[in-house]
Amino acid sequence: MTDAEIISLINDSLVEEFELESSAMVSEAEIFADLGLDSLDIVDMVVILEGAFGVKIRDDESLREIRTLGDIHHFIIQKKCEKAAS
């Protein structure tokens, strides 16, 4: 899976789950302020991403550092790399 494919799948998954506008899915979009998600949504987002990419991220400390959609892209790309390496 290329980075672009990963980003596309993340965006599509979040657009579908949270009824977001595709045009809002830019890297710098802040998850809370711009995409309008809240803490309950973040819990569900983790479930969605785990399902879409077959990774376990729920207990990952670095999840707490995520602020923007770009952060999510980087986080999942890294997780996919780690998984591939292992």
Partner: protein, 407 residues
């Protein structure tokens, strides 16, 4: 004593969204019952009939509010919105703790549970569970979603009494206002159709299936050829308000709730009891401080089951003789279960306001065993001052409400 005004009514029914659709369908004498093709997919189920809500799109509710709502909460929110629009309660009071919600349903969202467990049982994992599961399936989901959506911060109660839920909700809300604990309540019942409801009645030989090929003829309260319930869905929600405050703010008072009773018959969890029904109606009259002779119209529970209709007819005859006009709206609407108390009370109030009584649909020949009370078959021009509303439920629950016309 504090009096209780009805100042708002809202409906989502098998006739569609809104009070006008509900009333229009009944006045036109239409049937909302359809062949529900999906029921053919289930083994062991004889009925193919249902009274389903169409033309309702929950998408108008913002996603972050809707995520915790199954269909029954969406129906309830839309009906509550209509009721609040009519009541025009002072919004400044929403957060006062004096405005509450009493709203129940038969059972929490089965569709949501079914969907979750169908996936869950693949590996018994909870890793795919989303936060919305609990909020959609908790027993007070519809009541909580309504309170959250409108910001009503008073009491929250989600009564569950199957087919009597809506009537019981209205009664408990009435009592909370009379007692002084609350000043206004959004109250009623809501129901989303699931095949399990139809299967439950079918199992007990109480669901209609002889009319699978003639859906508009199914659900025949008091009729000799009746063969059972047709399950439906919807929501009926009313705004009840302390009389003086409603009057002081110039609200239009649609009717007054003046009496309520509910009691449990413990001889059987499933069998209707004529004696308990009669006792419940009598207690409601006592609560209202009126005599049986003063009642001008009775909106019966009458679901078109073999035993329930006979028991209610006998109870009605025992208390009222043949003097009071009686009808059931389940020939039009099917049995909307928890929503029936709210929807049928709304229709009863509309009859009182319009000065006409709507007859029982599909009643061609009255069952001799239901003979006695004045069960009418044509629209009557009549302006009832006092009406009685019955709802009875599996579990032995009986409920009666006494309604006074606003003028």
């Amino acid at each position: 004593m504090r009096r209780v005004a009805v100042t708002g009514m809202g409906a989502v029914s098998p006739f569609g969204r809104g009070l006008n659709e509900l009333v229009g369908g009944i006045v036109a004498g239409r049937s909302a019952i359809v062949v529900h093709d999906k029921l053919a997919d289930y083994g062991g189920l004889r009925t193919r009939l249902a009274a389903l809500v169409t033309g309702v799109d929950g998408k108008e509710i913002a996603r972050n509010k809707r995520r915790s709502m199954s269909s029954q909460s969406i129906f309830a929110v839309l009906a509550a919105g209509e009721a609040l629009n009519q009541a025009v309660l002072p919004e400044i009071e929403y957060g006062s703790g004096r405005y509450g919600v009493v709203l129940g349903t038969t059972i929490s969202s089965l569709e949501t549970s079914e969907s979750f467990f169908a996936d869950h049982f693949r590996d018994k994992s909870f890793s795919r569970m989303k936060t919305s599961l609990f909020f959609k399936t908790m027993n007070h989901s519809a009541a909580a979603n309504v309170a959250q959506y409108f910001g009503l911060e008073g009491r929250l109660l989600a009564p569950a009494a199957a087919c009597a839920t809506g009537c019981q909700a209205l009664g408990y809300a009435y009592e909370m206002i009379v007692s002084g604990a609350q000043d206004a309540m959004l109250c009623g019942g809501t129901e989303e159709f699931h095949p399990l409801s139809a299967a439950t009645f079918d199992l007990m030989n109480a669901a209609s299936f002889s009319y699978n090929d003639r859906p508009s003829e199914a659900s025949r309260p008091f009729d000799r050829q009746r063969d059972g319930v047709v399950c439906g869905e919807g929501a009926g929600v009313l705004v009840l308000e302390e009389w003086q405050s409603a009057q002081a703010r110039g609200a239009e008072i649609l009717a007054e709730i003046i009496g309520f009773a509910t009691l449990t018959e413990t001889g059987s969890i499933a069998e209707p009891s004529s004696a308990a029904m009669q006792r419940c109606m009598a207690l409601a009259l006592v609560d209202a401080g009126v005599e049986a002779e003063e009642i001008d119209y009775i909106n019966a529970h009458a679901t078109a089951t073999e035993k329930g209709d006979i028991a209610e007819a006998q109870a009605l005859y025992g208390l009222f003789g043949d003097r009071v006009p009686v009808s059931s709206l389940k020939g039009h609407l099917g049995h909307t279960l928890a929503a029936s108390g709210g929807l049928e009370t709304i229709a009863t109030i509309e009859m009182m306001r319009r000065g006409e009584l709507w007859p029982t649909r599909n009643l061609s020949e009255i069952d001799p065993r239901c003979q006695g009370p004045q069960i009418f078959t044509e629209t009557k021009k009549c302006k009832p001052k006092l009406a009685l509303k019955n709802n009875f439920a599996l579990g032995g629950v009986n409920c009666s409400l006494v309604i006074r016309a606003s003028q």
